[in-house]
């Protein structure tokens, strides 16, 4: 064994000091590992994907006292070294050095929950036995003390053969010691009295013995968690609170999010006008303003709504309520052959299917996971919202149905949400009783204690989401906007852009017109549909471009233009088409990566398009005479 035990940073060989150290943060779920990670690295972190899988991971930099930098990698939570889900497998693969493209781990920081020590010591025994230099962090020290528990850290360190630190990611206690461990190369654990090749009972007995020897006093069961569960899981109150919470999530997203979106839209429009006035009239201005600015801007305005939805879901998740909501949802989910674990991904699918599909990695059953992936895009994501808003405003009169708070437009919007949900349920039912039928589904879920969500971890999560969204707007959406602008402005006629009817985009629209004519759509809607394959909200930008540069309609606003171009039946058909079709390149890409085959996204795209086409066809034929 190497004798590097008390080597301070000052006497280190040059090369070792410069070589980038990688330390893995490992621990069971709900041990506060991510909060600790955020506390340690702050804004100096980035999200990445492991090669081959979409399990996201965060890597961050921690700087030591002497300026040396260490990269810290936050691995998905594990209960043991026998993975049951995709994300747990990643952690084990990284630890065992079987993950390609990830640097060998130099040391491990094991984050455990000090209030549940005997359970988490079992994982500690397994991790320490791997032989990495390990620091055992007893997190939640503040809760341990508050609830009357205590532990002798030194005795624990002696028994485990590794340094042990009592810390709190919330209060900052013990953080300097952790940073010191991260930045200082340290020795492998001293062989200690670890259980070898024991069964679960043996491990647990060992853990209790170690805890007792270290004078571990278990804290009292959190009273508040028990009390709150009595309310949130109550026979009558539970489902009511659940329904109110879900409604509130949407209400907040719509009211606050829409307000912010409108503000952002005004800001973008006026700055676009300002920018336009700086550019010379002609092709350049047209390209920058009509092509790029308006195209990308029409998508950017949804950022506030998406962020608010993620904020609300984040608060629910970090507080512990989402786990209870999953228990309540489990009964309903079991009727379609799924379980409560699918509830959380499906709820986030209301913001965006991409993170929702990535969140399915916590579902242990492969078949349940694929079923959840396949139905998630039916949930009304925020990209459909602008399309719904636009067409509903253009075609549904603002009539009151039930008092001033619930009008015909709100009813139309709500029914589109319900339709998407029902189609998801219907599809799940079919899948789970045919190709994805699985044996007894074992729903086991840990219920974390209720905790206050921290501003910093919510903030960092939103920052992550914003980055993902902005990258999308800056790549896919930008590309669509540029291509569309070129298609509408070429081929040139006498050195000038053509009339819209003579442009390339018109040729594409006319080419697909026979296929969409039965749905009541003309070639312009056709172009919109084509451009919305990249991203749904693209149709708004496209129609804006198409009608905007049409001289005949120059003065009309988009809604009025739509009203003239499309019949009521055609509008309903279009809404149904958007409710069911899988027009989202990012979703297709993420499904391909998650399922690791083209088979599932291809089948899903075909199925959703068929459902969309048929329902649009039926709707148009029943309503075309209105």
């Amino acid at each position: 064994m190497s004798v590097s035990c008390h080597t301070g940073p000052g006497v280190l060989p040059e090369e070792l000091e410069n070589s980038a150290r990688t330390v893995a943060l490992v621990g069971p779920p709900n041990s506060g590992k991510t909060t600790l990670f955020n506390r340690l690295t702050g804004l100096r972190q980035k999200v990445g994907n492991f090669p081959g899988v979409t399990v996201e991971h965060h890597t961050g930099l921690v700087r030591g006292e002497n300026g040396q930098e260490v990269s810290v990698i936050d691995l998905p939570g594990i209960y043991s070294l026998t993975p049951v889900s995709e994300d747990e497998r990643v952690t084990v693969d990284v630890l065992e050095g079987r993950m390609e493209g990830i640097a060998r781990i130099d040391a491990v920081v094991l984050v455990t929950d000090a209030t549940n020590l005997s359970h988490h010591l079992v994982l500690a025994a397994r991790i320490i036995a791997m032989g990495f230099p390990t620091l055992v962090v007893l997190n939640m020290a503040d809760e341990l003390k508050k609830q009357g528990g205590s532990v002798d850290v030194l005795s624990l360190a002696r028994q485990l053969g590794t340094p042990v630190v009592l810390a709190s990611a919330t209060t900052g206690e013990g953080l300097p010691a952790i940073t010191n461990f991260l930045t200082t190369p340290s020795q492998s654990p001293i062989p200690a009295d670890l259980p070898v090749l024991q069964d679960a009972r043996g491990y647990r007995d060992w853990a209790v013995r170690v805890g007792n020897k270290a004078g571990y006093r278990k804290p009292a069961t959190p009273v508040w968690t028990h009390r709150l569960d009595g309310i949130f899981l109550h026979r009558i109150w539970g489902p009511i609170i659940f329904a109110v919470t879900v409604l509130l999530v949407f209400q907040v997203t719509f009211v606050v999010g829409q307000g912010l979106s409108t503000l952002l839209q005004h800001g973008l429009q006026s700055s676009g006008r300002h920018l336009g006035s700086l550019l010379p009239d002609g092709m350049v201005r047209s390209f920058v303003i009509n092509g790029i600015w308006n195209g990308v801007g029409s998508v950017l305005v949804f950022l506030p709504q998406i962020l608010i939805l993620f904020l609300v879901i984040g608060i629910l998740e970090d507080s512990g309520y989402l786990a209870r909501a999953a228990v309540i949802a489990d009964q309903t989910m079991s009727r379609v052959g799924l379980n409560g674990k699918s509830f959380i991904p499906l709820l986030s699918a209301y913001a965006c299917a991409v993170p929702a599909i990535m969140a399915t990695r916590t579902i242990p059953s492969k078949r349940d996971r694929i079923a959840t992936i396949l139905i998630a895009p039916f949930m009304t994501c925020s990209a459909r919202l602008p399309v719904y808003t636009m067409f509903i405003a253009a075609f549904i009169p603002a009539k009151h149905l039930m008092g001033p708070f619930f009008g015909a437009r709100a009813a139309a919007m709500l029914s589109l949400y319900v339709l998407g949900f029902l189609m998801a349920v219907f599809t799940a039912r079919i899948l789970k009783s045919t190709i994805l039928r699985s044996d007894a589904v074992h729903f086991v879920m840990e219920m974390p204690p209720y905790r206050w969500p921290t501003v910093s971890s919510l903030g960092l999560r939103l920052l992550d989401r914003s980055k993902v969204f902005l990258v999308r707007a800056g790549t896919i959406i930008l590309a669509v906007a540029v291509v569309l602008w070129m298609l509408t402005n070429f081929p040139m006629q006498n050195g000038k852009p053509p009339a819209i009817e003579d442009s390339y985009v018109a040729s594409i629209g006319h080419a697909i017109e026979p296929a969409i004519r039965p749905l009541g759509f003309d070639w312009k809607i056709g172009v919109g549909l084509v451009s919305s394959i990249a991203a749904r909200e693209g149709i708004i930008a496209t129609l804006g471009t198409l009608y905007g540069i049409d001289p005949e309609e120059h003065a009309m606003d988009l809604q009025a233009a739509l009203h003239r171009e499309l019949s009521f039946g055609g509008a309903v058909a279009l809404l149904l088409f958007f409710a069911f079709a899988m027009q989202c390149a990012s979703t297709i890409a993420v499904v391909r990566r998650e399922t690791n085959s083209w088979k599932w996204p291809a089948a899903q795209f075909a199925y959703m398009t068929a459902v969309a086409y048929l329902s649009a066809f039926v709707a148009y034929h029943f309503l075309k005479n209105f």
């Binding site: 026998t82 209030t115 009972r201 647990r204 786990a323 729903f443 086991v444 840990e446 219920m447």
Partner: protein, 99 residues
């Protein structure tokens, strides 16, 4: 009481005593010691990693609104389990141990 009925009653009573009680038989608030699992090794191992270990005391902390899933507390961990799973986990009720 007629003898036939009595026989049936005795039979049911015996059957009830013979079949080992499971987690699902406990009422909310009751506690017991975990026994063996009648599950495939993979699932059993997963449950043990989550803290459900034979010999450890378990309490039924709560019941979901419809009675299923229920939440069980083992030491510091609370776990939600569906009835189909809790029926496969034997327990030794503490009251039974006292007889």
């Amino acid at each position: 009481m007629n003898t036939e009925l009595k026989m049936i009653f005795n039979f049911i009573n015996r059957a009830r005593h013979k079949s080992p009680a499971t987690l699902a038989d406990l009422k909310v608030g009751e506690c017991a010691v975990l026994g063996e699992f009648e599950l495939e090794p993979g699932t059993a191992e997963h449950l043990m990693n989550l803290g459900l270990i034979p010999g450890v005391e378990v309490t039924v902390a709560h019941s979901g609104p419809g009675g299923d899933p229920r939440i069980y507390r083992v030491e510091g961990t609370e776990l939600a389990l569906r009835g189909e799973l809790s029926r496969c986990i034997a327990v030794e009720p503490q009251s039974a141990a006292a007889d």
